[in-house]
Amino acid sequence: MTPRLPRAIDQGLANCHVCGKVSPLVAHRCPRCGSALHLRKPASLKRTVALLLAAAALYLPANMLPVMTISEIGNVMASTILQGMVEFWRREAYPIAIVIFVASILIPIVKIVALVWLCAAASGKVHPSPRILGRIYWFTELLGRWSMVDIFVVSILVALVQFGAYMTVTPGPGALAFAGVVVLTMFAAMSFDPRLLWDRLEILEASENPHSTPDRE
């Protein structure tokens, strides 16, 4: 077995979330940047799960309701995110169709599933494989922002396509729900604490070898 490496939490030391300085928890506030000190992000799992539930509730309206309405010489056409993608596919603009599919449909759902899995692992319901799950966490944090692209497309089209009776684009109710999904999943990813996965692994290893005393250098 590899020797156990010392953790900050074992020595009552808190790693500042904002500036990364390690100080004793009893100080309450980080001496370097003045932020509140915590051993772990406060109520990390509860907050993440609550935000995820809210995001999941908005996921269906975000994809069913139109994100924008295009009025063209008397014709009014509402367009959802999926229809926008299908439209590109039909016009044989495959790369753009794939970009929209990945950014707007795949990433939000993958993110929600991944964070649910991470929460289950951190609370001990599935095995915490911190090395793999940590990488998944890193990806969800990195990719989440790109889902915003469809909201920006709506904002650009609304600003540009204002030709009175000839053609106008107006934002639809789906846009708000969609922006909500993206922002809520971003907050959910931020409130999750990956150190909880390692804590769980520690507990698991300790229960597997109850007689071995952890040796610390």
Partner: protein, 197 residues
């Protein structure tokens, strides 16, 4: 220092330029030593601020259809949404494309500029904290992708012209990325701590 990913304690030692220290347990990067970090951040954030001015002064995209001309700018992209009744999304777009980048570039310049001379600007601690909060919400590169997707959507409907603002925006994206990547968070706070004493 402790790993932000798995909480393992490490003795922080200086690493050579262009290299990074990694966690012994989980392997994530703990801190990096970037060459000429303060000079780079100051230069790129100053350039980003100037480019932001250009982006907002000059037209971004001009579209012509049926004899009517419309113009796109960052400001209009969020204001038109608010005018059409989507106030919340309008504000979101404004925060992601205007305010967060402004806080990032202005904040980095305010913190790193005086640090070049070994001084900490008044209130630099608060500004540096704001930098950390603003970073994930700076989405100018995503907005640029949105512009490309919109172009594909509009391609056949009308004549489109790129303005100076568009090229300034592309350059702004590069400068912001370079400024953000220019300095390690730990290094910034270490320097600030030393300068404040």
């Amino acid at each position: 220092m402790a790993c932000h990913f798995c909480d393992t304690l490490h003795e922080a030692t200086a690493v050579p330029e262009r290299t990074a220290a990694r966690c012994r347990r989980c392997g994530v990067v703990l801190y990096q030593n970037r060459p000429a970090s303060l000079v780079r951040v100051t230069a790129f954030s100053l350039a980003a601020l100037i480019l932001m001015g250009i982006v907002n002064l000059f037209p971004f995209l001009t579209m012509e259809a049926n004899g009517i001309k419309t113009e796109l700018s960052l400001y209009r992209a969020s204001r038109e949404l608010m005018r059409e009744g989507s106030t919340t999304i309008g504000w979101c777009v404004a925060v992601f494309t205007i305010f967060a980048p402004l806080v990032m570039a202005g904040g980095m310049l305010y913190v790193c500029g005086p640090l070049l001379r070994g001084r900490a600007a008044p209130g630099a601690r608060h500004v540096a904290r704001w930098l950390g909060h603003a970073e994930p919400w700076n989405m100018i590169e995503v907005f640029l992708l949105g512009v490309l997707v919109s172009l594909m959507k509009l391609g056949k409907m009308a004549d489109l012209y790129f303005g100076v603002g568009f090229w300034a925006f592309a350059a702004l994206m590069v400068c912001m990325a370079a400024a953000v990547a220019g300095i390690d968070r730990n290094e910034l706070w270490d320097r600030l701590e030393v300068a404040a004493e």
